[in-house]
């Protein structure tokens, strides 16, 4: 049997490296009808902000070849409802939770982190993922993740609000000229790990109506089609760690994983854990299926420990 366990920081040993991806699994109840959400390494919740949010108008999605485009607009109940209802439920079923937090300003991020920390079910939390792909109201809506300084500020403030044994993961956007620069800024600011990648900025025109198909005009591109971009981003950042340009921290890989083989691709490029996002819409039990497939592949290749496969493709 392959040892699948992995420690992403703070001494929280996860039984395996498979996770849901933020915004692709809601907050647990829905997928629990298809598989036991405590069977995967960690459950990543939908990015939550301070206040309840309606999200954007519809249509909110467009299907594209091997991908989809979404503009949900971070619809959610707000952090108060999240800690009162969603987190306790996840705790009740034994899930290890990686809440994803968001904000329109660095102080909003800090407030959300502080509220989370003060909540009664905080014990279920094994880390916090910071979704920095949000428009920064203080900077004409430029997303935090496109600017190393803005990213660093958010991470530093969030880091301050949380106990040391709760690792903070900065979730990076691929829509930048040099992702290693953003990664370096986040790690320097206190990120204990990185999640890569968020969606790519894309757009679809409805050619029947000759206007943008999404209510939000542009949207986020996700799914198997973007996997090569995720692999590249993980590879580049991991390479920068090998070269000492960024301190070595764990990377959570996400982007277009459909099968165990796909997961292994991200792992070999440098990911210590894997999230399955859009593919859940195709197969609601994809996270446990991918886990099983990954495990079988590692076994067939003679690995004793999952962690031995992390980043092996470097230097070959």
């Amino acid at each position: 049997m392959v040892d699948l366990s992995v420690d992403l920081g703070g001494g929280h040993r996860l039984p395996n490296p498979l996770m849901t991806a933020s915004g692709c699994a809601a907050n647990g109840k829905e997928l629990h009808r298809f598989f036991d959400v405590s069977d995967i390494g960690a459950f990543v919740t939908k990015s939550v902000m301070a206040e309840p949010r309606s999200g954007r108008g519809t249509p909110r999605m467009a299907e594209t070849p091997s991908c989809m485009l979404n503009s949900i607009g971070l619809q959610g109940p707000g952090i108060e409802a999240f800690v009162d209802e969603d987190l306790p439920w996840l705790q009740s079923v034994g899930a290890r939770v990686l809440p994803s937090i968001a904000g329109s300003s660095s102080t909003e991020y800090a407030h959300v982190a502080a509220t989370l920390r003060a909540s009664r079910s905080f014990d279920a939390v094994v880390g916090v993922e910071v979704n920095i792909s949000c428009p920064n109201v203080a900077n004409r809506g430029l997303v935090f993740a496109c600017d190393p300084l803005a990213s660093a500020k958010v991470i530093a403030l969030v880091r301050e609000q949380l106990p040391r044994d709760i690792p903070v993961f900065a979730k990076l956007s691929p829509d930048v000229t040099d992702i290693t620069a953003i990664a370096a800024a986040c790690v320097k600011a206190g990120a204990d790990g990185l999640t890569m990648i968020n969606t790519l900025l894309g757009m679809v025109i409805d050619t029947d109506r000759m206007r943008p198909q999404l209510g939000g005009v542009t949207g986020g591109l996700s799914g198997p089609g973007i996997r090569p971009v995720a692999v590249r981003a993980i590879w580049q950042v991991r390479q920068a760690m090998f070269e000492g340009r960024i301190p070595t921290v764990p990377i959570i890989g996400v982007g277009g994983v459909r099968t165990g083989r796909d997961a292994l691709e991200l792992v070999a490029a440098g990911a210590s854990a894997i999230q399955v996002g859009t593919v859940v819409f195709n197969d609601p039990s994809a996270p446990v299926r991918v886990l099983r497939e990954l495990c079988e592949l590692l076994e067939a290749k003679g690995y004793d420990r999952f962690t031995d496969a992390v980043a092996v493709a470097h230097g070959r």
């Binding site: 915004g23 809601a26 206040e51 309606s54 979404n70 619809q75 109506r209 819409f281 609601p284």
Partner: protein
């Protein structure tokens, strides 16, 4: 507890053309056992190398919980795009991946009141099963079927068999009365003194049904059809503005809190040409100058 749901690889055992539609029978015992009228199934499209990631949703036309092949689920498909074309091209013994049953079923009245069931195009597909359940409860059931032309009507013969009265309309007069279902609906409600109007069809029709029902003191229960990425409640793409029991509007998921909604709860004012705005008074609506 949420309703139970299953995922199974279903074999196509029958498929036949009915007017402009394809009537497909799938062996899906798990779905067949759990489903109620008004619920839907989500079908995977394409094989192993498919570039079509998202499932396609179809109202359940009928289920047969057991039989020669095990439980079956029937759907009625209109081929409009690449996904539905792939589905209607399946031949017996091909398999299709099915998730279901999904969504909320039509609520049934506790008393044996009169009901009118209104179906637009293939929207009638889930109504025959509903009609049967209502009549079992002693309800007087009439049906109104409308479509653009005769070949886009579904189930007129079955309607006559399973209901106490049937009215047909077509836009071009090629069958039944020329006009829209909303033209004939007032009379049918008045004549039958219907307490509930069930509707399934395009959004514009559902809005009209709701308006007519309200004007005639009936409750409208409508099954909507929103673009859905997941169908299981995790993606938030299928939302629409609906008024809750607390009187506040929220963007609710039509795949889990619908597809059946009380017509008077839907914020029809927010819909416009395929888009739905977030009403300004919705919970968490964007405030002027950002959130």
């Amino acid at each position: 507890m949420r309703a139970r749901v299953t995922q199974e690889v279903a074999e196509v055992i029958a498929t036949r053309r009915v007017g402009a539609y394809q009537h497909i029978t799938l062996v899906a015992p798990g779905v067949a056992e759990l489903a109620r009228p008004g619920q839907f199934v989500a079908l995977g499209v394409g094989g192993e190398s498919s570039g079509t990631l998202l499932r396609r949703s179809f109202s359940i036309h009928r289920v047969s919980p057991s039989g020669t092949y095990g439980g079956t689920v029937e759907i009625v498909v209109s081929a409009v795009g690449a996904g539905t074309r792939w589905i209607v091209e399946r031949v017996p013994h091909d398999t299709i991946d099915v998730v279901g049953p999904l969504g909320k079923a039509f609520p049934l009245p506790t008393d044996p009141v009169a009901c009118v069931l209104v179906g637009g195009g293939y929207g009638s597909a889930p109504l025959f099963w509903l009609a049967g359940e209502l009549r079992e409860r002693g309800c007087h059931v009439e049906m109104v079927l409308g479509a653009a032309r005769e070949d886009r009507l579904f189930g007129v013969v079955e309607a006559r068999r399973s209901c106490d009265g049937v009215t047909v309309t077509t836009d071009d007069g090629s069958a039944g009365q020329q006009g829209w279902v909303s033209d004939v609906l007032p009379d049918v409600i008045d004549r039958t003194k219907a307490a509930v109007v069930y509707g399934c069809g395009p959004m514009g029709m559902l809005e009209a049904i709701t308006r007519v029902a309200q004007a005639h003191d009936a409750v409208a229960q409508v099954a909507v059809e929103e673009s859905m990425a997941c169908g299981v409640g995790v993606c938030m793409t299928c939302v629409m503005p609906v008024v809750g029991s607390d009187g506040r509007t929220r963007m609710v998921r039509s795949c889990v809190e619908g597809p059946v909604f009380r017509g008077d709860r839907v914020r029809w004012d927010a819909f416009d040409g395929g888009h739905a705005r977030v009403p300004d008074d919705a919970v968490g609506a964007p405030k002027v100058g950002g959130h």
